[in-house]
């Protein structure tokens, strides 16, 4: 009886670990945020928000935007466009947020599933 109890304990422990792994799988999947780059409406690149990196994005008409991803934030460091509004749009990190460069037709957006305080749309940009 006592031995049987221990077996159950062992199974329960392994089950618990299994469940925890499943939960981690589920959560990590939902919270996985990416930086999506779109040029003239077409998705051209997808980078994990969690990995520090710098990329040169080629927009329309030879325009270039320098994208920086660092510490879970993404922003345009510099750009060839005349107004530089995209650089002024600041850093983004929540799902649904975006930086837009109209002259180069470049959209940099945080995409992903689930709840990180994310939104479906942003007003006032």
């Amino acid at each position: 009886m006592k031995k049987h109890g221990r077996d159950i304990l062992l199974i329960a422990a392994i089950l618990l670990i299994g469940g925890a792994i499943a939960l981690i799988l589920l959560l990590s999947r939902r919270q996985g945020a990416f930086v999506q780059v779109r040029v003239d409406g077409k998705a051209v690149a997808l980078y994990p928000l969690g990995e520090n990196a710098e990329h040169e994005i080629k927009g329309v008409n030879g325009g270039v935007n320098r994208l920086v991803i660092r510490n879970g934030e993404a922003w345009v460091e510099s750009a060839s466009c005349p107004d530089g509004l995209c650089v002024g749009m600041g850093h983004i990190r929540h799902i649904g947020a975006s930086v837009i460069c109209l002259p180069n037709k470049v959209v940099i957006a945080i995409v992903g599933e689930g709840a990180d305080g994310g939104v479906d749309a942003v007003t006032g940009q």
Binding site: L15, G18, I21, D120
Partner: protein, 362 residues
Amino acid sequence: MQKASGRKAFQIARRLSHLPAALISAALASAVLASVALFSACAKDTKTASAVREVFAMDTYMKLSCYGDGSEAAADEAVSEIKRIDALLSIGSESGSVRRVNESGRAAVDAETALIVEKAIELHGETGGAFDITVLPLMELWGFTSGDYRVPESSEIAAALEHIGSEKLSLSNGELSLGSAAGIDLGGIAKGYTSDRLTELFRERGISSACVSLGGNVQCLGAKPDGTPWRCGIVHPFNKDGGEYLGIVSVADKAVITSGAYERNFTDAKTGRLYHHIIDPSTGYPAETGLASVTIVSSSGILADALSTACFIMGLEGSIDYWNASGRAFDMILMRSDGGIFITPGIAGSFTSSGEVHIIDG
């Protein structure tokens, strides 16, 4: 001693003999759990057909998302509709009525433009002149149309004010006359009109769930496909860099449109003063009413678009008076320059913010 340890070893061996069975069952259970978890995450994506379009039009970036059967065709139609309205209402358009009126001072206008101008004149009267489609000469004077910003002389502003005021316009029998006004620009209402039209188009095509963002003017049809409301973030006027929102409002079947001093502005090199693009038509200078941002929530896009500008110019007290006078026909979220947030009771239950929120009680 030896006997005891021997028994213990036997017990461990006995337990270990159960281990494979326990492991297999646990692994099976985890596999089931994991696949259920993964499947539930995937199922959401495949349940509803959806279409997304991005459009660069009306000098801004637009994104349309719609869900349900026929969403692809409806989204394509919506893109065509945006291009049609852009060509119709744009100030520079060769085919539209606006340019003809502005060039000759008096011209026949198409029925759709006439309807929008009529609505604009009506809103001009209701808002005590705060919303005005004739402010174009002032926008040009300050350089907001060209990007060559400068602070005009007060004499220049006084001269421009002579030609401003929608009461100067007259519209009859499909003919629009500028009177002593210099010209009209429907830019302050065109996007709101467009999002109304798109919502209508989606509804006519049997789409029950859609969300459009026309350069930060958001309008939603229905709720999200899963039945929950759309979460609409409002850009924080002072914390754009932090990636934080002023707040998040959850809506269904509503337009959510914001005007803020932070959107377009310039600093005068001589004085270091900041000038923004929301010009008060009564003074000719950027509106200084102590507000940093105004968001209007309404089932009408055209109303929300016009009122976000008008309320910014009217200030907090003026906006509350207008809201009461209108029969509380819309909801609003105002942020004062000191960071205080004021919201109407209608959205108190669907607005979240980490800021200091006051509910307007009339």
